[in-house]
Symmetry: C2
Subunit: 478 residues, 2 copies
Amino acid sequence: MADQRLPSRSENFADWYNQVVLRAELADYAPVRGCMVIRPYGWALWENIRDTLDRRFKATGHVNAAFPLFIPMSFLEREQEHVEGFSPELAVVTIGGGQELEEPLVVRPTSETIIGHMYAKWIKSYRDLPVLINLWNSVVRWEMRTKLFLRTTEFYWQEGHTAHATAEEAEAETLQMLDIYADFAEREAAVPVIRGRKSQSEKFAGAVHSYTIEAMMGDRRALQSGTSHNLGQNFAKAFEIRYLDQNNELQYCWTTSWGLSTRFIGAIIMVHGDDQGLILPPRLAPHQVVVVPIFRSEEEKSTVMETVERLAQQLGERFRVYVDRREGLTPGFKFNDWEMRGVPLRVEIGPKDVAKGSAALARRDQPGRAGKQFVDQAGLTETVASLLDEIQASLYQRALSFRQEHTHQPEDYEAFKDVVQNGWAESWWCGDAECEAAIKEETKATIRCIPLDQPGGSGKCIRCGNEADEHAVFARAY
Amino acid sequence: MADQRLPSRSENFADWYNQVVLRAELADYAPVRGCMVIRPYGWALWENIRDTLDRRFKATGHVNAAFPLFIPMSFLEREQEHVEGFSPELAVVTIGGGQELEEPLVVRPTSETIIGHMYAKWIKSYRDLPVLINLWNSVVRWEMRTKLFLRTTEFYWQEGHTAHATAEEAEAETLQMLDIYADFAEREAAVPVIRGRKSQSEKFAGAVHSYTIEAMMGDRRALQSGTSHNLGQNFAKAFEIRYLDQNNELQYCWTTSWGLSTRFIGAIIMVHGDDQGLILPPRLAPHQVVVVPIFRSEEEKSTVMETVERLAQQLGERFRVYVDRREGLTPGFKFNDWEMRGVPLRVEIGPKDVAKGSAALARRDQPGRAGKQFVDQAGLTETVASLLDEIQASLYQRALSFRQEHTHQPEDYEAFKDVVQNGWAESWWCGDAECEAAIKEETKATIRCIPLDQPGGSGKCIRCGNEADEHAVFARAY
């Protein structure tokens, strides 16, 4: 797999992306239109993402549960915006056990409606609130143009669904989860993000407002990488989710939902990768360290493998370590293979290293000689620990600099139209949906978000020149 | 919830079971026919089952992956026995994105066929073998009569799928996974099981032969609690899963599959529970210890809570501990509530305990005075550790004695017909499918398995009197 060159990332980003996904064996095309198989290496990455998010969810009082895959069609129809948003992309079961069903069942595109139905049954009193439930599952949206991880008919995600006694609590929850996503993206995935509000035309179907984290990919397009929705009382009213307050009066709940999906794997690939393949952030990499033994004879093999196994065991107590014991492959082939798969740090042990008590280390984020160093086997664990931290920090810094370099504050609309073709624009926006639509029509750039972090004051809308209170980030997006 | 009495377990086992599931908030009925919602308490139990199995799978070289929910109908038709077995229970998607689909998609009832398709693509050489992949997902089988956890239209499970170079390796894998299930059941869930082979009429549709672990429930019926299938070359031939061997010749692979589902939660409930509700084995319990503070005034509360929080933190370093801080509920209500939910050990702290440096402990497996003891707060962690071990061992021992007591070796068919109404029979069986069918017809008992552990020698078939080489276990089953 790794012996053919990848397409150049700078020349053909889309082709480079697909080839990296396939050759690093993250995923493969399934024999069902628009679906993917996530292969063991890709799934191990998702499991690491899941575990680190799950810890954050549980630390903030959330619990996991499981809701059915099937939702009665009539449930979706109870919330007007919701059904309009999702109708075109539904997969529908019409036959069960050999019989035509009386009411067709939708394969869940998201679970707000069935959650609403159950919460209405479970929630009786203010004592039952808040309800803070998260689901790890897959959902189905019939997509026309699909792309591995970024847009597939079935995808894996978590969906959080909470119910609260007050509007303030629901808003605080929505923002808390956005912060958790941003913290995860930046600390664990080394992906810098802008936290912001979606415009009304880009919000979730059924939400009062939606928040997002937006990241810049290696081709300077934006990727919506996680979203958190304040649903107000829309679903509470559609499903009669009510509670008796402390004065024994019936009140509607306030609900939220928030999700982050396997799409984020696409972000990791597109933010960090290079012409050699994937570069995985150490905190999420399935293998943080790969050890490659080097020998030319059976005699060399036995002395080298003894050292390799000893060092691997030692490193294994602290890191996720993989020893490449494959037979019949050259070290050079193995180096390329692990570079393709983005393992952050490679340890090479040959007969000379055994004799000298040394090891050769190669950083994936600095290919070639720059990232290579020879170190003592004594203290290897500490050396590896500090290198992995350095790689993690350096990946983040590089991605941040890249985003800053390609984020512009254009002077006027002409300059705006130009910069959004190859970067992001941060500009005043009047808040008018028609203005937003015209920009999209004229430039293919959309409002990624209205950042939470605003410059203050006011200015003139980048397109229409009207009074504007807020900055928006505009970009072409996935 | 906990203030109404449960139905008596001995008088109405089925009703008792349903009420325990609902009142302990393990699961609830979903608004979709035959589906369930697994509530946070039930899902936490499943997560513990998952984690402990997953460690065993990974320790034996397996990796996780994700395969699509949808399978083209034509895939199922490629393996004759398989499609005949599963056709009557399929859910079928016929509409996607508003259009009728050219080929209907089946919602996976199990993934052998789509696995077969992908393995054929991935496996080229003996160097690629074995492939050892496991999936954690849900599957759908359109069931007519459903029961929470035991038989639902959608259920959660893991399905392992492996491919090997030789028949011997495939058989060794099939038996290894059966042993892992048995080890999990006995050590973690405290559920004693009989490991055995399924008769041909009870095997998996498409397998050469199937192995099972069978457990005796509290009403003496059997529950198939996990299965492991040797698929021979059936799926390899149907999907052209082939590899080049060391002589460069093309060979068909040998494959296996094995699964354990949320049904196992039903086994835990039915094996250990009592008239007060659930009794959870300490190794799997979401909360191993619950701490209930007891006070009558605000002043008492503040001193009690100080001790409670200190002890809970200390215990929390080693156990899964829950502090019941709920306001406005009496201690008695809380005791009943946690008994219903089966928490293995309760720690009660009142003002006298604070003064004396003591704590009251109550074992869930010994309700009433027998399970109550007063201990020093000093050394509480060690006391709790040894009590939890004792509870775990005692639950296993009790379930084993119960099974032994209700497993019979009847002298003749008349005695056989009698004992299988209220227990298990272990008897010689001639191996004839007609004889098996007649027994089922006449007694409602089926062959649960032909135990791996055989007495040796031979005897006369319990029904027809013909020569028989093997013992079989017969029972009425879920």
